[in-house]
Subunit: 303 residues, 2 copies
């Protein structure tokens, strides 16, 4: 029941009203892997440059994270520079350098090709199709994260990937752009017609909503007094979600709810420090304690 | 343990992308009373003009709603005209006529002056102080709804009312304007320093958050496919919240959580039809069924 995450690894320069950090390890699969590995082993596929060295490798070391699918190329890893305003809700991209990721096509190691859970990060839909085509058998569960730019740019390829996917993970804005609807239940109907049986919509500081044929599950975010850096919150959510699901070996609605909650909790850790730092240092004990606190917080007895 | 609601009764012209309605009964206390009366008797104080006739009285008739405090004045009731865009998130006010409510000062009937639960609608803080001063003894529980215009306009009177209030009910935008903070936990600290022990922040389509010294309780909104008219959703929430609290005769944290959930459910009914129509026709059976469905939706077993 292996979990494979395909996407970007990058170096980020991040500025928030509370500080700045240069050269932080980032990219969707870094966050997904460092979040999911607390629950289940993860195989990672992507590309890095020569600047990805022992310092970065150490971050993944000693965890059930398989980096054999992380290609090394001459040149620099992709870089992103962004800043957040006071509301911390959306980053302004100041600079983006694809570097080695430009024209890179992931080739999956043999050991990766039978993964049961496949996460496709914000790649071009054409790349995503190519990855799906490399699998020996169709994974039981394909989750994909989308991005507004792909939604607008390559509708046709997107349609073909969606037909392969069991689940679509998007944020509120992407969901609306994809379906041309505002209401989430109406969006879900349209997404189901495109392929995915499950839709998870991340609502940022308002939590997440899981839409499944069996019903709707909505969860608020874990309330935090100090949000430090929202970068990677959605990927940390995705990692917690998929890691939990893979470890439970089930995609029943109770497992999906539990996975949503796990995603919420992992996202809450991710935003407490710069980059992936919180995900690196958080312990199983911290995670369990926050899960219990959150469960108490949202539960009403005697109804 | 009586519940007294002081605020506006008006006639509304409402336009949404799904239709329009003229002369709908509106105003904060109409929604609060028609929502709260499903759980507990309500005393209403406000003012109406000669256009408030048998047709409007019939809406309140046969329910535990006391209209003795609803003053009748020569002239027209206050009127509001607003429209909503596709997202249904915020109304654009097209016209507002205070009419008889201009320079009106509520005088509470003797029977109202010992209420244990007092709801102060979006009145000017000076009016709110005047109402509090008419009570024989300080109510056990004063809830107040605020409005961005008062927050900006009359800081000093607002401070004096807040010192009297046990709870403050606001929407997200008002909370931020009041405290000059974005983060809800930080806002709560500032609100506590102003007086209220409890803060309830309504998050529109994202539900509500209850902040109490015992902890934080967040609830998503009840997911609806068809939101028809958001007018009065917040007042319906307030009515459900206070009606539930008054009926439980408790302000312990479990009662507060239950009240928040009741508010969420009443708001979900309110938006399904124009004006107060849904609140008029909803039955105890409908409310119980939706409460149970929502409880199932948000509960995760075995954590």
């Amino acid at each position: 029941m292996s979990l494979l995450a395909v996407g970007s690894v990058s170096f980020d320069d991040i500025e928030t009203p509370f500080g700045r950090q240069e050269n932080a390890l980032g990219g969707s699969v870094s966050y997904v892997a460092l979040s999911a590995c607390h629950f289940h082993p993860v195989q990672v596929a992507g590309v890095v440059g020569e600047d990805f060295g022992p310092q970065q490798e150490r971050i993944f070391e000693g965890r059930p994270i398989d980096l054999r699918g992380l290609a090394r190329r001459p040149g620099k890893s992709s870089r992103w520079k962004g800043s957040y305003g006071y509301e911390l809700s959306e980053a302004t991209t100041l600079d983006r350098q694809p570097n080695v990721s430009l024209d890179f096509h992931p080739v999956l190691p043999e050991a990766y090709r039978s993964a049961s859970y496949l996460y496709l990060g914000k790649l071009d839909p054409v790349e995503q199709l190519d990855v799906v085509g490399q699998m020996i058998q169709r994974p039981r569960w394909i989750a994909r994260e989308t991005a507004a730019c792909w939604i607008e740019g390559s509708r046709e390829a997107l349609g073909r990937v969606l037909r392969e996917a069991d689940m679509l993970l998007v944020d509120e804005r992407e969901a609306r752009a994809l379906a041309g609807e505002h209401n989430l239940l109406k969006i879900y109907r349209k997404v189901q017609a495109m392929g995915p049986r499950i839709l998870v919509v991340k609502l940022g500081e308002h939590g997440a909503m899981l839409l499944a044929p069996e019903g709707v599950f909505a969860s608020p975010a874990y309330p935090l007094e100090d949000v430090f850096d929202p970068t990677g919150a959605e990927d940390a959510f995705a990692g917690g979600f998929l890691g939990c699901l893979a470890s439970r070996k089930s995609t029943e609605v109770e497992a999906l709810k539990h996975a949503t909650l796990t995603g919420i909790i992992m996202a809450s850790f991710a935003v407490e420090r710069f980059g992936t730092q919180s995900l690196e240092f958080v312990t199983e004990h911290d995670i369990k304690r926050r899960m219990r606190a959150f469960s108490d917080m949202t539960r009403i007895d005697g109804l």
